[in-house]
């Protein structure tokens, strides 16, 4: 296995130019979409099957009650414990040698279980092809030693591409720098490999709580409770089954024929 690749998106550097969205669409040949009025400069409410990088514009009031922007270029997190990958019944969703998560379009049959299993709402169904799509981590670039298209194009280096261990160290340094400058609200999201989902391979520096950005504070693997849920179902099966056995059992032998 190659060294794990990652992207670090430092939202404190994002200027909301959306060049990442465009570069992603150009490289991956994704169609343009009609913008939606979302109440801000943001052009669509969320990712779609054709928008794999998505710039969020969150309007807030600062301490002087002046409007200010929180900007964030969101992307598939390529979770180390990925709900979509666990959910996929065909094996179409797989872990690449770089540690990222990709979907084989040659295998996916469009059951959409992965869509329901992503804690971030990333994976999206394409009604045209009948299959699901998401960010591929530009596997066709990274396997040739190139950066992802979004990281390559980002004019402020808000999006950085590299080896996970190096980027994580960089992220921690940047966080300390911001804290020293008095930006106390800055946090890292998904950088910690001992944190939720075993760490995210696309991690972020945020300037507010994750919920403000529409991200779950503590994302969990949806498949975690499976043993408990299955056990409770088995309990119900035993209960209902025993009830039926009592109901159907013949008392006193009588005409009971053909024994097991």
């Amino acid at each position: 296995m190659a060294r794990t690749l990652a992207m670090f998106t430092d939202t404190s550097l994002c200027i909301g130019c959306r060049a990442c969205e465009v570069a992603c669409k150009q490289w991956n040949q994704l169609e343009a979409e009609t913008p939606h009025w979302t109440g801000s400069y943001q052009t669509s409410p969320h990712f779609t099957d054709k928008t794999w990088r998505h710039v969020k514009f969150i309007e807030k009031k600062d301490e002087r009650n002046e409007p200010k922007w929180l900007l964030m270029s969101d992307v598939c997190k390529h979770c180390n414990q990925a709900g979509c990958l666990e959910a996929c019944p065909t094996g179409a969703i797989y872990r690449t040698p770089f540690g990222t998560v990709d979907i084989s379009q040659d295998i996916c049959n469009g059951c959409r279980y992965c869509v329901s299993a992503c804690p971030f709402g990333v994976v999206a169904f394409n009604h045209g092809t009948g299959r699901v799509n998401k960010c591929t981590f530009c596997v066709d670039r990274t396997s040739e030693g190139m950066k992802t298209a979004c990281a390559k194009t980002c004019p402020t280096d808000s999006i950085e591409f590299g080896y996970r261990d190096e980027l994580a160290a960089k992220a921690k340094k940047r966080l300390a720098e911001l804290h020293a400058k008095g930006v106390k609200e800055a946090i890292l999201y998904g950088e910690d490999e001992n944190g939720p989902l075993g760490g995210l391979n696309a991690f972020f520096l945020l300037l507010d709580k994750p919920e403000v950005y529409g991200l779950p504070a503590e994302p969990t693997l949806p498949q975690k409770p499976i043993v408990k849920d299955a056990g409770l179902s088995a309990g119900a099966a035993i209960l209902v089954g025993l009830g039926a056995i009592v109901a159907f059992r013949e008392r006193g032998g009588g005409d009971r024929g053909g024994e097991e």
């Binding site: 969320h46 709900g83 666990e86 959910a87 996929c88 019944p89 065909t90 094996g91 295998i107 996916c108 049959n109 469009g110 059951c111 959409r112 279980y113 869509v115 329901s116 299993a117 992503c118 804690p119 971030f120 709402g121 990333v122 994976v123 999206a124 169904f125 394409n126 092809t129 009948g130 299959r131 529409g214 949806p222 498949q223 409770p225 499976i226 408990k228 849920d229 299955a230 409770l232 179902s233 088995a234 309990g235 119900a236 099966a237 209960l239 209902v240 089954g241 009830g243 039926a244 056995i245 009592v246 109901a247 159907f248 059992r249 013949e250 009588g254 005409d255 024929g257 053909g258 097991e260």
Partner: protein, 280 residues
Amino acid sequence: MVRAPEWGMYIIWYFFLGGIAGGAYFMAAIADNFGGRRDREVAKVGYFIAFPLVMICGVLLILDLGMSSRFLNMVKILKFWNPMSLGAWAVGVFGAFSFACALLSLGVSEERLALRRNVAKVGSWFGFFLAAYTGVLLSNTAQPIWRDARLMGALFLASGASTGLASIALISYFKGANLGESWSKLKKADTFAMVVELALLVALVLMLGPSANPIIKGSFALPFWGGLVVLGLVVPLGLSFVKPGDGKERTAGGTMAIASVLILIGGFLLRYVVIMAGQL
């Protein structure tokens, strides 16, 4: 922000019919193995329900896929920790068992019936699985409501049991089958399954707390309270306490037939409300 998988009527019908198929089969297996001579008729009806329904289930699942021609990709691998992967396999394996039991029900020889009982002993485990796994499939997603519904599999199992028995009762009634005391056995088993189902439903809603609001309030409140709880559970439970007079077995069957129709409506609405409200 999570995204709904856009599961619609194919999946709702599949969950409903899969529950009936599984429930009718394992109830038939119990009647076959633990009941008397007359209960074999009950068992036969159950097997004859399970087999065609599981065939329809397979078709519904294939139609729901974005690429139906690739449905076999589901069974090229097996992920034993994945409800959908196991479910796809289970539909196939259960289909084989229900086919075998339906086939063995065509004959009357004692050997065939003995073989049928033994096949059903193994097949009933897949019946239990088919009735319950759809609930676990939902509770292992990131969707609101579903993800917190620890009892969804248990609830679907109880509902599968009661809708399975209701289908057996309804078809037996229309066949004019002379079930004799088997009516009261069917009724007893179904009443118990409904009590369990109602208890699980109450527990599930209480455990969900405020996240149950999209189900119990708003546009799904009427099908949930009026359809599922009152018409589908409370009224049939009330009817099950109606005592028929002596020698009025036909009337008893009639009451049970009415109750069965209501149970089936309730079973459908359960799947409808859960799937639709979970994707708001």
